[in-house]
């Protein structure tokens, strides 16, 4: 009998509540979330006893020692860690060290972000992490693209033509997806979420735009 499974989410999972509801629904059916991939493209689940729980997501910024304290604090309030995304750095860096943690709690537990202040802080943190990820990915892919184009002209690298372009494309798709997620979240924060997120073109655009750019990258690096 299968004890683990992978479930793919929408191409762009901007709606946090939808994800939280999905995880709760799967737990109710005996599948507990085990991990999620960066960008929330899919989640891994393992078979468990069916349980009625609620899920929540929170972003922590700080040191690994503080993170343990933070988990204990949340645990006391009834929120148990399910999995996390990201890594905390011990050394100081120009980029803030953060980790996204997914928690579960029995039905009726006081929500993590119950007050308006906390909801706004949570949204701002989400925006910050998305923007940071997006900038990094787009930055790396642009650099890669320049190197690939220069290699086409001067042939200084040993990699087969188009190989690097493929990697660049993946980075670019992720980077742009993060940008679109950040944009959609900003709309939500400004109270335009219902109008904009329901528009079909938004989902179409979020899929087609990275694909179009990937096509252009491939054209300039491989077939030209």
């Amino acid at each position: 009998m299968k004890t683990t499974k992978r479930i793919w989410y929408d191409i762009i999972s901007t709606d946090e509540n939808k994800l939280l509801e999905q995880w709760a629904e799967h737990a109710k059916n005996g599948w507990l979330l085990e991990s999620v991939c960066i960008g929330y493209f899919y989640g891994k689940y393992r078979k468990c006893a069916a349980e009625e729980v609620i899920f929540s997501r929170d972003i922590f910024e700080g040191s690994p020692e503080e993170y343990q304290e933070y988990l204990e604090f949340y645990d006391q309030a009834g929120w148990e860690k399910v999995c996390s995304l990201g890594k905390l750095r011990k050394r100081k860096s120009i980029y803030p060290s953060f980790i996204v943690t997914i928690f579960k709690a029995p039905m009726g537990t006081l929500p993590l972000h119950v007050d308006k202040e906390s909801q706004n802080t949570h949204l701002n943190k989400q925006l910050k992490t998305l923007k940071m990820g997006s900038r990094l990915l787009i930055g790396f892919s642009t650099l890669g693209l320049i190197i690939e184009l220069l290699d086409n002209r001067f042939s200084f690298m040993a990699t087969p033509p188009g190989m690097m372009a493929s990697y660049i494309s993946i980075l670019l798709i992720l980077g742009l997806t993060f940008s679109l997620q950040a944009w959609a979240m900003k709309q939500k924060q400004e109270g335009k979420a219902d109008g904009i997120l329901q528009l079909k073109w938004f989902n179409i655009l979020s899929t087609l735009l990275p694909l179009a750019i990937m096509g252009l990258v491939q054209y300039f690096t491989l077939w030209r």
């Binding site: 604090f73 309030a77 006081l110 119950v114």
Partner: protein
């Protein structure tokens, strides 16, 4: 940050205010939340995320201090500096309420 500015200008937001009141006696995280809920008759509910963030800020501003640890639960207590600020804040809020009452009485039909 707005909340940090609030501490610096010696004006507490409602969340900071209630946490300082709760820590007039030693309490840990969960008890602080419960106490605030009971004290306000359920009008003011604070989630763990807000509480954790504010506790970190209050510790940094030396308005509260770690008191002890029971079953891995950290217990906090208000400092003299925190108590001083709380007294100042109560007086400020009291004055504000009085202003409101006087103004309302002044325009009574």
């Amino acid at each position: 940050m707005a909340r940090n500015e609030a501490i610096e200008t010696e004006q507490l937001t409602d969340s900071f205010y209630y946490i300082l009141i709760a820590l007039l006696v030693p309490r840990h995280g969960y008890l602080i939340m419960k106490y605030i809920e009971e004290l306000s008759g359920g009008d003011f509910v604070m989630g763990p995320a807000t509480l954790y963030t504010i506790i970190k800020k209050l510790l940094k501003a030396e308005l509260i201090t770690p008191h002890s640890e029971v079953d891995r639960k950290k217990i906090y207590l208000i400092t003299d500096k925190g108590r001083e600020l709380l007294v100042h804040e109560v007086k400020r809020r009291e004055k504000m309420v009085r202003h409101g009452i006087e103004a309302l009485e002044g325009v009574k039909p």
